[in-house]
Symmetry: C2
Subunit: 375 residues, 2 copies
C-alpha cells in the first residue's frame, strides 16, 4: 500500500464517510448492459461491466465480468470474477454481505436504478437485512453531487481533452474551407481517426453530423450518413472526445451560402450563447441562466426545444442541468458545463453552438473553441 | 388509412389482444437515455427518445422528444411532443390516461425497467388506477417472446443486412491479405464507411477490434485503438451492421504466424462452432446446446468465459440466450441467433468465431460468412 491514499481511495473515503453518517453498512453499484453506472469507474478505475460493493468498514469488493480487464484497470481491495457469483446481482449481493460479515439488520443500499421487479427479489433474498433503494438523498444522488464538482486530477484531464478537441476543431475548419469534407461521414471519420491518434478512448458519444437536409432535428437520425455536409445551408456537427474516460461535448454549425432568415438564426444563437456565458459564475442558479436564454429567444418569437446545457464528466450528461424547469443546480467552482443554445426550423435547418465551460471563482473559463463557421 | 393494416398496426394488434386477455387498459413504454427500449421502434417505427402509450381501445399515443423525427419515421394514431407533458414520464402517463378517458381502477402496466423510486411516484400520481410493474409474464416479457421469432419483413431485412455484412467480410479479408489493414482503426474505419455506403444506419454496436496485444479480453477496452491488427498472433474483430434498425453480429479472428498452442485454440473454436451448429433445430433447448459446447471445451481443459450465443434483432442482444445456466429458450423457426464460441488466454491471445443463424423448420441457415482467417 502506498503511504498516500490513491485517488480512488480518496474518492471512496468520501463515500465511506457519508455511509457512516447515514448508517449504511454496504453500498451496491452495478454497471451492466442497459443500466450503465460510471460511478464504478470513478470509484475504482474499472471501465465497466462490473458490480461494486463498498462496506462502511472501508473495503471495496469489485466483481468484474472480465477479470483480465479489471487486472489492468481496477483498484479495489478485493477483485473477484462475477462468474463466481452466478452472474446474478441478487446472489452476488447476498454473498458480498457474507464476505464482509455484515450483521443482521445492517442497512444495504442498492442502486436507485434498480427496477421494481428486481427490487422485490433483493428484498426477498436479503430478508435479514434492511435493503434501501432511494433517489433523493440516496447513494447515487450523493455521488452526483460529489462528481459534479471536478477534482484537480479531473480538471487536468479536461484541459488535455479540450486541447485535443480544439485541435480537431481547427483541422475540421481547415478541411471544410479547403472543400475536403464533403459528407457527414467525412467529418465523423476525421474525428474518429484523429481522436484515437491523440490517445483518446474514442468519441464520448456517437458523433452527430447532419448536413443541410437533416439539420432541422435536434439529434439527427441516423446520427450520420454519407449525405452532403457543409454544402449550401446549415450543417450541424455535435461531437466529443473521450480522454481517460472523460468526454468533451461541442457543437459546430457550418453555414454556407445562407439566406437572411438563416443568418438570423445564427446571429440569435451566437447572441444567446454570449448572453448565457456572461451569466456563468459561482452562486448562479442553472435554472435562472436557462430561463434568461429562453426569454431572450422568446423576444424574437423563437423557442429552443432543448435544455441550455449540462454538466459533463465520465458521462456526456451529468449534473447540473441548465434547464428552465425542474432544475435545481447552483454553479460552483470546479463544475464543467456545456452551453449549447440552438434553434431548429424544418425549412431553414438548424444551428447550435456549444462549448465546454469550467466554472471558476473568477467566472467562466471557456475550455473549447467551437463556433459557427461561415464558409 | 390503408385498407390493409400496416406492419406496425399488426404488431400492435398482437399487444392489444394480449392486453385484453390480461385486463390491461393502458401499456406504457419509455425509451430514454440510460433506459433504452426498442419496443417503441418495433411498434411504431419511431427510432427512439419517446414515450408510447397503447390503450386496449386499440389506439397508440406517441410522445417523441423531437417531433420532427417522429413525423419522418413514426406510425401511431396520436403523436404529440413530449414537451407538452413537462418531459416527465409520470405526468405524461397521468395525462395519457386522461386523453384515453380511462375509467377509475383501470389497470396500467408501466415498464418493468421502472426504477423502484420512480415506481413509487407512479403509484402516488396514479392513485385512482391500478398500476402494475412486473418482469415475468409482464408486458415486456411478452414482447420479448413476440420479437424473438422474426416476421417475414424482419427476415427480409436480415437477408439484406447479412449480404452487406458478408460483402464487408470479403473486403476485410482481401485487404488483410493485401496488408492494407494494419491497425485496429483501419478495420473499424473500413466497416464504418462501407456499411454507410450500403445504406446502413451505422454499426449495430461499437466495433471491437483487438490486435494480438489485446485480444485476450472478451471485450477489449477501449473497443479499438490505433494499435497493430492482423500482425503476428491472434486478432479479434467483432462487429455488426445496423440495417433498418436490425443489427447483425459477427466475429472474425485473424491469425498470423501463430504457434502450435495458438493453432490449438483456433482448431478447438472451429470444432465447437460446427458442433453447436449441428445442434441447431426447432425444439432444441438453448441451454442444452450451450451446455454441450461447454462440455466439449471441458474435455480439452478449456473454459469459455461467456455465453455461446444469443438472439439478435433491433437489439444486439435479444432472446433466446444460449447459455449453460439460467437459460430457458427453446429454438423455433424464425429465430435469428448468433453462435460465437471463443477461447481467451492472457499469454496466447483470444479467438472467437461468430455467425448469425436463422432457425428454419429444416435446421440452421447460416446467414453470415464469418470465419477464422489464417494469414
Amino acid at each position: 500500500m502506498a503511504a498516500k491514499p490513491g485517488l480512488y481511495e480518496q474518492r471512496r473515503n468520501r463515500v465511506y464517510d457519508w455511509m457512516a453518517r447515514e448508517g449504511i453498512s454496504m453500498a451496491v453499484f452495478e454497471d451492466a448492459e442497459g443500466r450503465r453506472d460510471s460511478n464504478i469507474r470513478w470509484l475504482t478505475g474499472q471501465p465497466g461491466d462490473a458490480l461494486l460493493f463498498l462496506t462502511v468498514g472501508r473495503k471495496a469488493l469489485l466483481m468484474p465480468w472480465d477479470i483480465n480487464i479489471a487486472k489492468l484497470h481496477a483498484h479495489a481491495e478485493h477483485i473477484r470474477p462475477y462468474g463466481e457469483f452466478d452472474r446474478n446481482p441478487v446472489t452476488a449481493c447476498l454473498k458480498a454481505a457474507g464476505i464482509f460479515k455484515l450483521p443482521a439488520n445492517s442497512r444495504i443500499e442498492i442502486p436507485s436504478s434498480t427496477p421494481y421487479p428486481r427490487f422485490l427479489k433483493f428484498i426477498e433474498a436479503l430478508m435479514s437485512f434492511d435493503v434501501i433503494c432511494r433517489e433523493e438523498e440516496g447513494l447515487e444522488a450523493v455521488l452526483k453531487t460529489f462528481r459534479m464538482v471536478k477534482d484537480d486530477e479531473e480538471i487536468r484531464i479536461y484541459r488535455r481533452a479540450a486541447k485535443i478537441t480544439n485541435g480537431l476543431i481547427e483541422i475540421l475548419e481547415k478541411q471544410l474551407r479547403a472543400g475536403k469534407i464533403r459528407s457527414e461521414y467525412d467529418a465523423v471519420r476525421l474525428i474518429e481517426e484523429e481522436c484515437r491518434k491523440q490517445g483518446c478512448e474514442g468519441t464520448g458519444f456517437e458523433t452527430l453530423a447532419a448536413g443541410p437536409g437533416r439539420s432541422f432535428a435536434i439529434h439527427a437520425f441516423p446520427a450520420y450518413t454519407t449525405e452532403a455536409f457543409g454544402s449550401r445551408g446549415l450543417s450541424i456537427l455535435d461531437f466529443g472526445v473521450k480522454y481517460r474516460g472523460y468526454t468533451t461535448d461541442v457543437t459546430l454549425t457550418v453555414a454556407s451560402g445562407i439566406s437572411r432568415s438563416q443568418e438570423r438564426l445564427l446571429g440569435l444563437t451566437e447572441r444567446a450563447y454570449k448572453f448565457a456565458l456572461d451569466m456563468v459564475r459561482p452562486g448562479e442558479a442553472a435554472l435562472d441562466i436557462a430561463a434568461a436564454v429562453d426569454s431572450f429567444f422568446a423576444k424574437s418569437n423563437k423557442t429552443m426545444p432543448h435544455a441550455l446545457g449540462h454538466g459533463i464528466g465520465l458521462e456526456a450528461h451529468e449534473e447540473p442541468v441548465l434547464r428552465s424547469r425542474n432544475s435545481s443546480g447552483i454553479l460552483e467552482p470546479g463544475m464543467i458545463i456545456t452551453l449549447e443554445p440552438g434553434l431548429y426550423d424544418p425549412r431553414l435547418g438548424g444551428c447550435r453552438l456549444e462549448n465546454d465551460i469550467l466554472v471558476t471563482a473568477q467566472g467562466p473559463e471557456v475550455l473549447t473553441s467551437s463556433k459557427i463557421i461561415r464558409l
